[in-house]
Amino acid sequence: MHLARLRLRDFRNYPRLDAEFAPGFHLLLGDNAQGKTNILEAVYLVATLRSFRGVGSAQMVRSGQKGYFVGSHIVGQGEHETKMYWSLRERNLSLDGMPVRKVTDYLGVLRTVVFCTEDLLLVKGPSRSRRRFLDLLLSQTSPAYLPLLQRYTRALRSRNAILKQPTINPLLLAGFSQELLQAGGEITQLRCELAPKISALARLACRRIASDTEDLQIEYLPSVKKDFTVELAQSAARERTYRTTVIGPHRDDLDLLLNGRSATQYGSEGQKRTLAIAMKVAQADYLTGLHGTPPILLIDDIMGELDLKRRTGLFPLLQRSRLARSQVFMTATEENWPEELGRDVQRWLVKEGGLCPLPATDS
């Protein structure tokens, strides 16, 4: 699968961009604040309908403009044309000229995995970022997951609203508990099935990137240990004290163990970085295994932070994307671009919201 064409109108700092991309490596070069990451953000937006920078659509509109447009032409098993327009008053999303009614019908047209500095939050950040990792992967691979998660969140928020009232109506609470238990049980089940698969893939990736001596293990720590119904009932006193639901998938976490010890607590900075990348590689590997084709890799400026050895560990992943005629988009500044990638790279110069191809280097 590859992104053959990208069209931007008033997106971030691009008034207008029409670019065509062949399968393979694309290196986006340029000084800081020229719009390199914005290109990756647009590709990610086409795939997931959100920004990987964790911002809302309003912030992606070019300053002073009403709305943005992002269009793409995707070549994979069949060809697809996507169009997306967003403004405060109007949002349109179409696939092959037809308006998209349900997001679940759209997701999966383009699959991407992004590598960026924020990935470090997977290791250093709060448990929320690790749950998001699971949620994102499950919503990309299991169509029932997203509606399930939305139901769960709604039931959870309703329940918490009831728990905050001065007097709690037990029967009313029970009505929403029922919903929480049903959706929550299925979510725990799906996360529980996914975790060992990700752990195995991340372990291999970690060995490639770091060294054979570092053994990574990812363990799923469900908030519900055995029986959600029983445990929710047991938490009744605590949830009345804290006035919020204290047990359920919204309290899940992943334990990241390096050689049997918690990497979050004991890992060095370098190890944490390796671990975050290993998790992302595992994500890409998992998607590849499931769909048969590798996702498009979006690599935002992390090459510069890695030493040569760790970069080398990433090459098999990049190589596979090349062989499968997928794509890799990578941003770098002129000083830190990974020269060892070789010649077979399309280099682009990003400057003040414009993109122009650079001739291949002879070196």
Binding site: K102, T104, P143, A144, P147, L148, R151, R154, A155, R157, S158, R159, A161, I162, Q165, N169, L171, L172, A174, G175, F176, Q178, E179
Partner: protein, 203 residues
């Protein structure tokens, strides 16, 4: 461009507050009305005020009606032992369409929604309990939607209304009739699997 007369601007503003009418439609309707035959406009105004004055909620079931109790509640041919609970007054019209339901109705006037501050006291549940003491109801059919609030309200009602000799059922959900499996989304399918039924061998 000359400004619109104030009367037209006010009319457009009123029209815009109606459901399904955007700024452009509101303007078109307003400009049409001010140029139309005065009698036709008077008639429209009369119909509006009359309809609003005459239509009320049935004191018994809560459905839209001109007479209270409404036609369904006072119709002796309707099965008084079978009561269908719906969310909004217009839902009774939906259930009436197939013409197969012969019981009576009770409109809740909403569904439990802690996030929007709607609690049991805001719904017509007390009225429903009073009806159960007055009327010979044997079965209650809960016909609410299947979103989180609809499901939670159904659960709440089933528990609160439970009493000896009263059957409480919930409207089935699953595959649309006459359609193939491929048209159902994943959540609907998984619910349809859960709600599977025995096929009796001797039928």
């Amino acid at each position: 461009m000359s400004a619109l007369p104030a009367a037209i601007v006010a009319l457009i503003a009123s029209l815009r507050s109606l459901p399904g009418i955007g700024p452009r439609s509101a303007e078109r309707i307003a400009l049409h009305l001010v140029q139309a035959d005065p009698h036709a406009v008077e008639q429209l105004a009369r119909h509006l005020t009359e309809a609003r004055a005459r239509v009320q909620l049935c004191a018994t079931c809560g459905a839209l009606t001109e007479t209270s109790p409404c036609g369904t509640c006072s119709d002796p041919r309707r099965d008084a032992t079978f009561l269908c609970v719906v969310e909004r007054p217009t839902d009774t019209l939906v259930i009436e369409k197939p013409g197969t339901f012969r019981g009576r109705y009770h409109v809740l006037g909403g569904k439990l929604s802690p996030l929007n501050g709607i609690e049991p006291e805001d719904l017509r549940i007390r009225e429903l309990e009073e009806r159960l003491t007055r009327e010979p109801v044997k079965e209650i059919l809960i016909a609410l939607g299947t979103d989180v609030e609809g499901d939670a309200t159904s659960f709440y009602l089933a528990r609160r209304l439970a009493r000896p000799g009263l059957k409480i059922s919930r409207i089935a959900h699953g595959l649309p009739a006459g359609a193939g499996l491929d048209f159902a989304d994943e959540l609907t399918l998984s619910r349809a699997l859960e709600g599977r039924r025995d096929m009796k061998q001797d039928e």
